[in-house]
Amino acid sequence: MSRSDALAWRDRLTPATRMGLSIAVATGLYGISFGALSVAAGLSVAQTAALSLLMFTGGSQFAFIGVVAGGGTGAAALGAASLLGVRNAVYGLQMGRLLAPRGVWRWLAAHWTIDESTATASSQSDASEQRRGFWVAGGGVFLLWNVFTLVGALLGDTLGDPRRFGLDGAAVAAFLGLLWPRLRAREPVALALVCGLATAVSIPCLPAGLPILLAAAVGAAWGAWHSRSAR
């Protein structure tokens, strides 16, 4: 394909399609870090691939392996992953209204309902563009996220002791990177400080995994209280 052909092809893509594709590439690529961190946490390559294929919601996947890496129980990992996935219910509600998918498409739309597909669809004002944005971002991220998870898992598996390559530092950076965009206002920063302190103080006192759930309880109470006092 010549350069002008490529440009002509690009022009034929609608804004929603282009946005969906670029989000798919950016997000899909960091599937590498999920794959590598997951095997470093002690999961097998197959378990890692299963999480990306079936759970398919990045934050919850990182939470699940993060708890396992910290020595937490499967139940604590399940709790943290499920709580972090709660926002997907809100996304599902928005997307259900926007796309009104029918039959088998409804089941697939639910699976592909994540931060990226919801954001792409919501950023468009035209109904057909919203639909295109959702399916391109959702399908694109699903494909690339799974491919790069597998690449990361296989790489991590061959490299050996992950601490030698600072992979535990990569996990710290990944979680901070997921948190960072949510710290734009003073109120979430205050909440983060309280929860960070509660987690650190409770690590020596509570069984592994529970400090996370304690922080979740603090967060939920904070949200409830803040919403009532704002009214």
Binding site: A50, R87, T113, F165, G169, G177, G196, T199
Partner: protein, 101 residues
């Protein structure tokens, strides 16, 4: 239960949560009250995961190379570098600190 069972259960929960949104009456979830709780819950969980991965060493607290990774990552994020670069810098800082000390 084996880890495989917990994975299966967690995946089922994740899918059920997404599907619930497509099935529930709108007024249940789109209230400022629920928005506020969902938003705070996310910040709380991500903070706890960051802190735990930085200072937890089994049931104890430890200050080690991971704290350097946290500082380096924060600086990279403040510089508005992309996510993948931030993760790479975190790993690099951690590995370098371990090599030196």
């Amino acid at each position: 239960m084996t880890l495989w069972n917990w994975i299966a259960l967690a995946c089922a929960m994740a899918y059920a949560t997404k599907l619930i949104g497509y099935s529930l009456p709108e007024r249940w979830l789109t209230s400022p009250y629920m928005d506020s709780i969902a938003g705070s819950l996310t910040v709380a969980l991500l903070t706890a995961l960051t802190v735990m991965n930085t200072v937890a060493a089994g049931p104890h607290l430890a200050i080690d190379a991971r704290l350097g990774a946290l500082v380096a990552a924060a600086f990279a994020l403040w510089m508005r570098l992309p996510f993948l670069v931030v993760v790479f810098i975190g790993a690099l800082a951690c590995a370098a600190l371990r090599l030196w000390f």
